[in-house]
């Protein structure tokens, strides 16, 4: 009888091109996603060595990090951004790669469009020069971020030399309480295991609470696996996964679909498989979460208060002290008393249609607090079109939100959407690092529901507080 294996081990084993003891495995890559920021130097490398893209048909490019999200008919103001966007266009043309360019109907954040198009499928290996590639693991794909040298490697060879990662199970058992969202689940996980808690491992999210999540919710959870240091995050494919995929443009059709289902069902972790590490979290204990510091593990429930650094030991204490100085917060301040200047709803963590619906339902009939800037940036042009078809844009704009085009936007502030020094934001994105959303900006990570309620209240709030 074959040894029991986990989901990630099964997907890994299916992709080993060459294995030699003591060396990393040479792994075949099924889908390579490309964006403008981490690819120009890789294409340059190919040109210098006279190499081609081995499988343009397994490669897809989009423009997301730099693109303006305001009026797309205007030229990009920043000449350096414009040059990078132009470089991607030229490179895709020269190497024969499909490109969803700015302004096109399929353009969007790279981790939103892969699933949306049905390109991301169970059992695949997916890479991208972007750490949040872990998002695609929600489908039971092994998906991880790579650097530019590795992007060049995949372009040239469709393979990557990788060491087999460890396996880790994070089991969230039970029922999530009212108002507790997938974002709160992953913030709680990171708060529990820390920013280094997953280093060297692939996390498989398991348990009844995970099974109950939609694909959007699973993507939100897998997306932030990297914030716990994990190589990737995965969820075993099930009927929820299949229902999401069926009928998408690149999903298998007809007899191929039936064959795919059989294969995908066989990917689940075997009953007797043993993980290298296991963490169990009780879903019933979870509350909406808000980060208070400058890494995503510095997080507390919304009913809590900013902690005292003295409660931490060693380097964690020093990190907490530095974070509170940067965030201009005093220990003991109640989270609900913290006021914000800006609310950002967007990013590959929380800018899918389900996220926008959740935020819109909170905002409906309310107004954004006077003086507060609030923006919604859909994750893709398709999400935007869908939201407009449902009238969500009207709900947002009537409340005083700005309604934008698709892109990364204020998640990392490479385009003009940035925080000013000292500005404080409630953000549905994934990183509260110093300066992430603009130099000197202060970021608190929250769910779309909390972001929406906070926009109305002016301080951190949950939706029920508004009624």
């Amino acid at each position: 009888m074959a040894a029991a294996r986990t989901l990630s081990q099964k997907v890994w084993d299916r992709h080993v091109v060459r294995a030699v003891a003591g060396e990393p495995d040479l792994l075949y890559i099924d889908l390579h996603l490309v964006h403008e920021v981490t690819s120009p130097q890789a294409f340059d490398g190919l040109r210098l060595s006279g190499r081609k893209v081995r499988r343009p048909d397994l490669t897809l490019a989009t423009m997301d990090h730099n693109v303006p999200t305001t009026d797309l008919s205007l030229p990009i103001e920043d000449p350096v951004s414009a040059k990078q966007i132009e470089a991607l266009r030229r490179n895709c043309e020269e190497f024969g790669i499909r490109l969803y360019a700015m302004g096109e109907a399929d353009q969007g954040i790279v981790h939103i469009i892969g699933p949306e198009q049905g390109l991301t499928q169970p059992g695949m290996t997916v890479v991208c020069g972007d750490s949040h590639t872990s998002t695609h693991g929600a489908f039971g794909a092994l998906a991880f971020g790579i650097g530019t040298s590795e992007v060049e490697h995949v372009l040239a060879t469709q393979t990557l030399a990788q060491r087999r990662p460890g396996t880790m199970a994070v089991t969230i058992e039970g029922e999530l309480g009212a108002g507790v969202t997938p974002k709160d689940v992953i913030l709680a996980v990171i708060g529990t295991i820390g920013t280094g808690g997953g280093v060297g491992h692939v996390i498989e999210y398991r348990g009844s609470a995970m099974r109950s999540l939609s694909m959007a919710g699973r993507m939100t959870v897998c997306n932030m696996s990297i914030e716990a240091g994990a190589r990737a995050g995965m969820v075993a494919p099930d009927d929820t996964t299949f229902a999401y995929l069926e009928g998408r443009p690149y999903a298998p059709k007809g007899a191929a679909w039936e064959r795919a289902l059989d294969e995908w069902r066989s990917l689940a972790t075997d009953d007797r498989a043993v993980f290298d590490r296991e963490v169990v979290i009780d879903a019933a204990d979870l509350r909406p979460h808000v980060t208070w510091g400058t890494n995503p593990a510095q997080v507390v429930p919304i009913d809590g208060a900013v902690p005292d650094p003295a409660a931490f030991e060693g380097s964690a204490r020093e990190a907490a002290e530095r974070a509170l100085v940067y965030m201009a917060l005093a220990p003991g301040t109640r989270i609900r008393d913290i006021e914000v200047d800006t609310v950002f709803i967007g990013s590959c963590t929380n800018a899918r249609i389900e996220d926008l619906r959740a935020a819109a339902s909170v905002i409906d009939g309310h107004k954004v607090r006077a003086g507060l800037r609030a923006l919604v940036v859909p994750g893709s042009m398709r999400v935007k079109a869908q939201a407009e078809a449902e009238g969500l844009d009207k709900v947002f704009t009537a409340a005083g939100f700005e309604w934008r085009n698709a892109g990364c936007s204020m998640c990392l502030g490479m385009n003009p959407d940035q925080l000013a020094p000292g500005e404080r934001a409630a953000s549905t994105s994934n990183r509260n690092f110093e300066g992430r959303q603009g130099r000197g900006g202060r970021t608190h990570l929250v769910s779309p529901a909390v972001a929406a309620a906070t926009a109305v209240a002016g301080h951190f709030a949950t939706p029920e507080e508004l009624d």
């Binding site: 040479l26 981490t38 020069g129 469709q158 240091g229 690092f433």
Partner: protein, 191 residues
């Protein structure tokens, strides 16, 4: 990448845990389409502070960065490695590196030196005490030493990665040697 056998020189005691790649090279620097010129952006937001350790003249010309745990978390940007190299660093010492940062470093010849927390603390203390102290990192023997402070310790580096540093191998060239295996693996899936 070029071969790296020994890194020798003075060090900068950065310390600090959880230094993410957004700090190493802020996003406004990522718009460049070249691989060079990122040194000026290294720790750009922190360098605004005159007291920041990189601004202190006694650490000028250092080749080794002494960092705290969880160095290089966050974004996969290889620009972080390019910035460290362009500034003049040849090695980073830390009790724990983020996976993607470590991978990127080994692809471009920046040596990630993973040491025990106690060794890391001892090195930081020694260099803070005397910035002129010389460190030697021997890739072949996997040893880091600061003789003047009486410190010598092993660091973790697997054989395969060590050999790549010693010989300066071109990964893509190596992978392309297995063309037959890659071709055999490929099946005509069209996405």
């Amino acid at each position: 990448m070029d071969a790296v056998r020994v890194v020798q020189g003075t060090a900068v005691p950065l310390g600090r845990s959880d230094v993410d790649t957004d700090q190493i090279i802020p996003s406004e620097w990522l718009k460049r389409v070249e691989r060079t010129g990122f040194g000026r952006g290294l720790f750009a937001d922190w360098r605004v502070d005159r007291d920041f350790v990189l601004n202190q003249p006694e650490y000028a010309g250092a080749r080794i960065l002494l960092a705290g745990a969880n160095f290089g978390t966050g974004s996969s940007r290889e620009h972080a490695v390019w910035a460290l190299q362009d500034y003049g660093f040849e090695a980073v010492v830390s009790p724990r590196f983020a996976d993607i940062f470590r991978n990127n470093a080994t692809k471009t010849g920046l040596l990630p030196v993973e040491v025990d927390a106690a060794v890391s603390d001892a090195l930081l203390a020694a260099v803070r005490d005397d910035p002129s102290i010389e460190l030697t990192i021997d890739v072949e023997r996997r040893l880091i030493a600061a003789p003047a402070a009486g410190i010598e310790a092993e660091f973790a580096l697997d054989d395969f990665t060590r050999d790549r540093f010693l010989h300066g191998l071109d990964d893509i060239g190596v992978a392309l040697r297995y063309e037959a295996e890659i071709a055999a693996f490929e099946h005509p899936v069209v996405v």
